[in-house]
Symmetry: D5
Subunit: 143 residues, 10 copies
């Protein structure tokens, strides 16, 4: 543990976020996502929700302001009537830390899997909400 770093952030997760550059993507996946099968680099955060983790990392992690979208969500499968209320939670956290509305891209389920495969890392959580997987695209740190 260090001062100013929330204890929920594992040393490996911090290292990975520091290594990432402009345009690299990180996925925060729910508890049923096939994270171990798809991840280039896997960070396990068993027992935590995605929102807890977003709140911890967003003070450090800049979102991409150049790209058209800096946040990716899995779009509801056609025919599914679920309304993912977790998205509002995500939007609030992002707005709170990033100071502006998130630029969100909705990604079809299988396209989402392909994006996850190419992401720099996947953080597996125990999030139990539906449609709770989220991709963040890293932005630029300026002096």
């Amino acid at each position: 543990m260090l001062k100013k770093i929330p204890p929920i952030i594992t040393p490996e997760l911090m290292k990975i976020m520091m290594e990432m550059g402009h345009g690299d993507e990180i996925v925060f996946a729910d508890g049923n996502f096939p994270s171990a099968a798809y991840a280039k680099r896997l960070v396990r955060c068993d027992g935590h929700t995605v929102t807890e983790l977003l709140e911890a990392i967003l003070p450090f992690f800049p979102l991409d302001t150049y790209a058209q979208h800096s946040v990716g969500l899995m779009s509801v499968v056609p025919g599914d009537t679920v309304v993912p209320t977790i998205w509002d939670e995500y939007k609030q956290v992002i707005a709170a830390y990033d100071g502006k509305e998130a630029k969100i891209e909705f990604i079809e389920r299988f396209d989402f899997y392909e994006r996850a495969k190419k992401a720099y890392a996947i953080v597996s959580t125990s999030e139990s909400a539906l449609y709770a997987n989220i991709i963040l695209k890293k932005g630029v740190v300026v002096d």
Copy 2:
């Protein structure tokens, strides 16, 4: 995730507990314990308390009924006036899952470090209570 397994238990932690045998010890360490320096096998559970983890693992993990003590706690350093209330929490959890009072050994600080070095594994948590490190000695599984 699997049915009947609490999501807070990481796959690696479950594997390690299954591998352990009679008399092997596992340490659940607080957030300031030098776990990475001392552990033969390290399982990180950043962001969690020790009690949360004990509640999750004790339904699976048998305590040693043969040994004089199946639980080790770090004894209060002479001169220190703190009264570790977390110990009561531990006793309750152990009693609840194990059906009997924990047989506790109090271990001097530096002896505790030596025991931790020899333990089969150390689970590092973000527990912030004082004197919150605990050693469990594994017992026997009978049919």
Copy 3:
């Protein structure tokens, strides 16, 4: 060994099943299947039958209820007159633990090999029945 976990489940197999996510597949292969040649992750369970293993893992392992089929069997090669009675055994075990009839897909032999190559893991057994290889697709764990 742990309480509540059948001893036939190896620590590695438990870890692998916990790591798997929604849609990931696991193959339980008979003793003559080329498991070592095809497996991304190989778990050896020499000396056991597939049915013994299914009985042990199904209380933990959820089958996919979203996919059209959650179970895959190798279809009888055209011209072969064998009637694989082992399938009835599998259906009974699955029905007993999953509470409903298995949704079975029959897969042509060489397609089965391709599926096995892509599976998250292959569990090699010493099952001696014919047409005894089986693929399980993992479902979702809900609270």
Copy 4:
């Protein structure tokens, strides 16, 4: 699987037995033995009994005829009234395959642990009988 090799013998176990030389020792440990903590080389045979394994390997594995004892058992802890009937089973299997009475050494519990640490390999089983751990000392293969 190969002809003439019982399927319960894993490829790794066969390789290890072939590598062993005169005087090297192998431990067949019960399900509660701390095998993973002590083994130089660990072979997991979860779900099997020690007797099943002895029956499979003794046609191949020569016992030491030069040493005073070729078999080691853990002696009953003083005060313990248990009578390990499994020992008779072991003696019968050894006599059947080796053609003569086993030369058995009884080893005090903690000395047994030390011997296990130095053994060439430990085979972990799910044997549930008491005092069921056994050490075999390898003999010489003659033309």
Copy 5:
């Protein structure tokens, strides 16, 4: 060394043959074959002939009875007048251990190389006869 296992079989070779399944192939290559360049798994048997090895392994290794051919030989390059007498030796050994005539496929030189690349293992010998490379396809072990 073990009883009943010819000493020429290395522990690694035995392990590899046990791991192989139905349809997997193993190449016994002569001393000039580029084994190290092509092998997925390489077993060196320097100083031995192919025939010595076939005699040792065929009592254990079942040939495929389902496939059209269970044995592959490199066909004589067009224009080459050599008559590979070693083939008769191979046929005799196979007939002796397998109880029936070998079903031999003749493979063009460069096709043979491609098959060797995909084989489960290549065993490199010091065989000096011409056209002495041989592929065996593993069959099924039945109770």
Copy 6:
């Protein structure tokens, strides 16, 4: 790079500082220190001074307030007339970030080497000042 983390801190250094616990030590070594020979974990920061690094890490890294000394410096070798002015720089930086005077232990040269060997990590710099090696003992992070 991340927001709020000085770019001079490498991802590996941050990870290591997060992994360290109460009482673990880290050495910031000058450019001529035999860091690679002694380090359990080596972090290279070629081209930087020790002071630059202390300024970057001290906002995150708590010094031990329990131990008698939280900072170690190599004492001037008897007979050497050098007065290490770099020490004043270190004291100022520590006082600035830690809010109190550093509790410094002066360590004889060869004892210093032994301490460095046991430290959790050594950070090698290109610091060119004399007697510029410094050991920091990690303290406790409290809520």
Copy 7:
């Protein structure tokens, strides 16, 4: 540290530059470049600027005099009005050490990424200037 070698050059960077041959490329990347994601071999030089590193390595590193271009820069994205003054700095350093004007190729952003992926190594810096990534193509050392 060695005589005649600037301390900013890490041992790993020197080794890599020595290993490179005629036509191999090395990228010096700014602090936001996704170096860890793209590099075959990654050298971290956190806390330094690209210019500092160029000044250190150019006395040793020959630029390619055979190729049409020995230096690559990322061309300004169409529509972007920034004028990268850092380029003048690079040109001066190259001219100073190489004795002639740099032969510069301007590379479209995504082509630059592809070149970086194929480069022998990427050196990640904390350079904060815009359009500051630079590729050097290694030339020939003559007696």
Copy 8:
């Protein structure tokens, strides 16, 4: 060092040459060749010339007598007026040890690179002559 083996041959080079089979190729590359970038297996012989190495290895290394060419040289780039006198040196060494004129293939520069990538090994020297890279194709050892 061994009797009858020239000391310039490294243990690794000898092992690699022994492992190679009929048709495998080895490249002896000059000091500016990008050997580390292209080699499947790299043997460094810094400080030596190609000719010194050829003289040492040719008494052991048979050239291919079956292939149309057993030696490959990089053809002079069109427009380049250099006359590679080193080739005569190579021809003499090969003739001296192989007893007949070398069958040389001239390979266009970029085709040469592709061949080098596929070679069993590349030996990097400090040869400073132009057009000094050479490929040897291994032949057959006969009794």
Copy 9:
């Protein structure tokens, strides 16, 4: 295979003998010797006798002429009436290749084991003669 190198010498064995220096020892062990348990570096030569190997390696391997003994044999255990005729075979081979009588040291069985543990390598054979283990101490190669 190479010209002038007997095919029975494996590439790894040749590499190991080349790496050894003055005073380093190599053990050629019989088929029942616990080679895998004791060897720092193990070379398997299954299926061969020790004499075959000595004949192959002695033209290359210099025996130590400085040490009091350059050859070690295991002395007959007191009470054992066996007369190891294999020793005469060894003496003849050594005399033939080394040009003088071997300077033999007889080593008590357990001292022999200790020597084997410290040897640079152990070569395991399938030699079946009694008391057939032999240690060679490497000498100096002179121009």
Copy 10:
């Protein structure tokens, strides 16, 4: 290869010398020294003499000016009448590059071996002179 770095210095040797610190030792060993058996880090320079290497590295490698001796040689074994003329060569090279007479320590043969074991690295050459092994103790690089 790089400008200003002699080609005889391998990339690995340069890296190792850069990593070494004040007081670390490096051994340049002759061709019969048991380098591979004793080295923590081994750099092979087969085919070269020690003097060639000293000439190449001494412009970069500072000798220790603080220690009583910065150079170690193996003292002539009592009774041996050889006069190692190579020492004069070494003294000349050291004086030429270091600008002053070498401070030489003569080390008894077995003490030399112990020093070599603890050295940061051993460079194995093919030097054939007697008593040609030499230890250099690294000094300090000052601005």
